[in-house]
C-alpha cells in the first residue's frame, strides 16, 4: 500500500517508470492519443487522491494493466466517445469501393468492446491486444484458466450478437 504521506513522491516515481505502459495501452484500446493522455491523467490523479486503491496485493504493473483496461473500457462506453466512433469518417476516394483499413476495423472492434459486458471485454483486451496467455489473464482477473476460456467463448458470442444488431 502506498502511504498517503509519501504518496506523491512515490507516485511520481511510479508515473515515470510505468506511465509509458499506461499510455501505450490506452492508445491501443481507445485509438486516440488525446483520449489516451486523458486516461493517463485520470489514472494517476485518481491514485494520487486515493492511493488506497492499490492494496499491494499485486505488482503495480499488473494493477496498472487492470486499471487502464477498466478505465478505457468505461471511456469506450461513454456516449460521446461512441458517437465519435460511429461518426468517424474513413474517407474512401470512391464511396462505392471498399478501403481496406485497419482504422475501420479497429473502430469496429472498439464498438464491440463498448457494447459487450465489461467482464468479457477486458478478457478480449488482454487476449487480443496484450497477447496474454490464459494463465496470465486468469492471474490478472482472479479466476481459473478454464473460466478465461469460457469468457472468451462468451465474448465471441456477444460480439456476434452486437454485429447482428440485437
Amino acid at each position: 500500500m502506498i502511504p498517503a504521506e509519501v504518496a506523491q513522491l512515490e507516485l511520481e516515481q511510479i508515473y515515470r517508470r510505468h506511465g509509458h505502459l499506461v499510455l501505450r495501452r490506452a492508445r491501443q484500446i481507445l485509438g486516440s492519443d488525446q483520449e489516451a493522455h486523458e486516461a493517463l491523467q485520470e489514472i494517476f490523479t485518481s491514485l494520487l487522491h486515493r492511493p488506497e486503491q492499490f492494496e499491494g496485493r499485486s505488482q503495480i504493473t499488473t494493477w496498472l494493466y487492470s486499471a487502464t483496461t477498466h478505465l478505457c473500457l468505461n471511456r469506450l462506453r461513454n456516449h460521446s466517445t461512441r458517437t465519435r466512433i460511429l461518426t468517424e469518417k474513413v474517407a474512401p476516394v470512391d464511396a462505392s469501393a471498399s478501403v481496406e483499413s485497419n482504422a475501420e476495423a479497429r473502430a469496429h472492434v472498439r464498438q464491440i468492446l463498448s457494447r459487450v459486458p465489461e467482464e468479457l471485454a477486458r478478457v478480449a483486451v488482454y487476449y487480443y491486444l496484450d497477447d496474454l496467455s490464459h494463465r496470465e489473464i486468469a492471474e490478472l482477473v482472479g479466476c481459473s484458466r478454464r473460466h478465461v476460456g469460457d469468457l472468451l467463448v462468451r465474448f465471441h458470442e456477444a460480439a456476434r450478437e452486437v454485429e447482428r444488431g440485437r
Binding site: 507516485l11 511520481e12 508515473y15 515515470r16 517508470r17 510505468h18 506511465g19 509509458h20 505502459l21 499510455l23 501505450r24 495501452r25 492508445r27 491501443q28 485509438g31 486516440s32 492519443d33 488525446q34 493522455h37 486523458e38 493517463l40 491523467q41 494517476f44 490523479t45 494520487l48 505488482q59 504493473t61 499488473t62 460521446s80 465519435r84 474513413v90 474517407a91 474512401p92 476516394v93 470512391d94 469501393a97 471498399s98 478501403v99 481496406e100 483499413s101 485497419n102 482504422a103 475501420e104 476495423a105 479497429r106 469496429h108 472492434v109 464491440i112 478480449a124 487476449y127 487480443y128 496484450d130 497477447d131 496474454l132 496467455s133 496470465e136 490478472l140 465471441h156 460480439a159 454485429e163
Partner: protein, 315 residues
C-alpha cells in the same frame, strides 16, 4: 470483426505484460530465466521488447510533468504542442539527393499512371495512394532510394492541437481542427489507411494525405526512435502551398528504412512559407518539436515500426 481481433504473436511467445515487467525488473528469477531463453530464440519477441523499451524512453522525454498531469489540466507532452507529423528525411544531403532523384524521375515515363486499376483489395486506398500529379510508385521508389538512409522512425500522433497554450482540458469534445494529416500505408501489395499507434514495417511505403479548410503552406517533419529528424515534405527549403481539400494527397511516398521503434510525424499547416530546416534542426536537437511558428496549425501521428515477421521467427 473477428478477423480484426487476432493475436499479434503466437501462444508460445511472451506477452506485453511479461516484457513490460522484464523492462522494469519485476520478474522473478525463474520468470527472468525463462524469458531470457525465449528472447534468445525469438526474433519477434526480441523486436517487441526493443519497441517497448523505445516507447518507455520516448515517454520519459515527452510526458507531461507529474505535477502538471495531476493538477487538474491535461498538458500536451513536451514538444508535442505542434501536432507534428514527422517524416524522417534526415541529412540535407539525403534531401538534396532525393530532390535530384525526384527531378530525374519526373521527367521519365511513368510505369504506372495515377488512378490505374490496382489488383486486389483496397482499391480506393490504392487510388488515393497512387494519386498525385502524375507521380508514380516508380517515382516514389526513386525518392525512397535517395532518402532511405535518413528515414529512421515514423511517429504518428493523433492530437490535433493548434498554436497557443498547449493545454487540453476535459469536457466536451474539441472542435474539428482546420487542418489534419493522414496517412496511407502500402505494405507489400496491400494498401490501408493508417492511424496512430499502428505498427508499420521497414519497406512499407507511406503516402500522406491532408484535409484543410483553405489553402496553407505545408511541411511534414519526422523524428525517429534514434532521435533523427527529417523533412518529408517539401523538398524545398520552405513550407509549400497546398490547396484546400477534404482528402488531398501529397505528391510522393516515403519508404521506411530498417530502424525500429516509435516514429513521430508532424504536419505543419501555416499561413506563411516558413523555413523548415530550423524546425528540423530544433526537433533533432531537442528530441521534441519546438513551439510552432505563429500562424501554424499542427497535427501529428505516431507509428511504431517493428520488424516484419511471418509468425514467431526463430534465430
Amino acid at each position: 470483426m473477428m478477423t480484426a481481433m487476432k493475436r499479434n504473436r503466437s501462444d508460445d511467445c511472451l506477452s506485453d505484460l511479461i516484457l513490460d515487467r522484464r523492462l522494469l525488473g519485476e520478474l522473478s528469477a525463474e520468470e527472468s530465466t525463462a524469458a531470457a531463453l525465449h528472447l534468445a530464440t525469438c526474433t519477434a519477441c526480441a523486436e517487441r521488447l526493443r519497441a517497448l523499451d523505445a516507447g518507455r524512453a520516448a515517454f520519459l522525454e515527452v510526458a507531461p510533468p507529474f505535477a502538471a498531469l495531476t493538477g487538474g489540466e491535461v498538458r500536451a507532452p513536451a514538444g508535442t504542442r505542434p501536432s507534428l507529423r514527422l517524416i524522417q528525411g534526415g541529412a540535407a544531403g539525403g534531401i538534396a539527393a532525393g530532390a535530384g532523384a525526384a527531378g530525374a524521375a519526373r521527367t521519365g515515363a511513368a510505369s504506372r499512371g495515377a488512378g490505374a486499376d490496382a489488383p486486389g483489395e483496397g482499391r480506393s486506398a490504392e487510388r488515393a495512394f497512387a494519386r498525385g500529379g502524375g507521380h508514380t510508385l516508380a517515382l516514389a521508389t526513386a525518392m525512397i532510394a535517395a532518402l532511405a538512409a535518413s528515414i529512421a522512425t515514423f511517429t504518428v500522433l493523433l492530437p490535433r492541437e493548434t498554436t497557443g497554450p498547449a493545454t487540453r482540458t476535459k469536457g466536451p469534445a474539441q472542435p474539428e481542427p482546420p487542418a489534419r494529416l493522414g496517412v496511407y500505408i502500402k505494405s507489400g501489395e496491400r494498401v490501408r489507411k493508417g492511424e496512430t499507434g499502428e505498427q508499420v514495417h521497414p519497406g512499407d511505403i507511406l503516402r500522406f494525405s491532408y484535409s484543410m479548410d483553405r489553402s496553407r503552406h505545408v511541411a511534414i517533419l519526422s523524428l525517429d526512435g534514434a532521435r533523427r529528424a527529417s523533412v518529408y515534405f517539401p523538398f524545398g527549403t520552405v513550407a509549400a502551398p497546398l490547396p484546400a481539400a477534404d482528402e488531398g494527397t501529397f505528391p510522393d511516398g516515403i519508404e521506411l528504412d530498417g530502424a525500429l521503434g516509435p516514429e513521430r510525424i508532424y504536419g505543419l499547416f501555416c499561413e506563411d512559407a516558413i523555413a523548415v530546416e530550423p524546425l528540423r534542426r530544433a526537433l533533432e536537437e531537442r528530441g521534441a518539436p519546438p513551439d510552432p511558428p505563429a500562424g501554424c496549425v499542427v497535427d501529428r501521428l505516431e507509428l511504431e515500426k517493428v520488424a516484419r515477421t511471418e509468425g514467431p521467427a526463430r534465430r
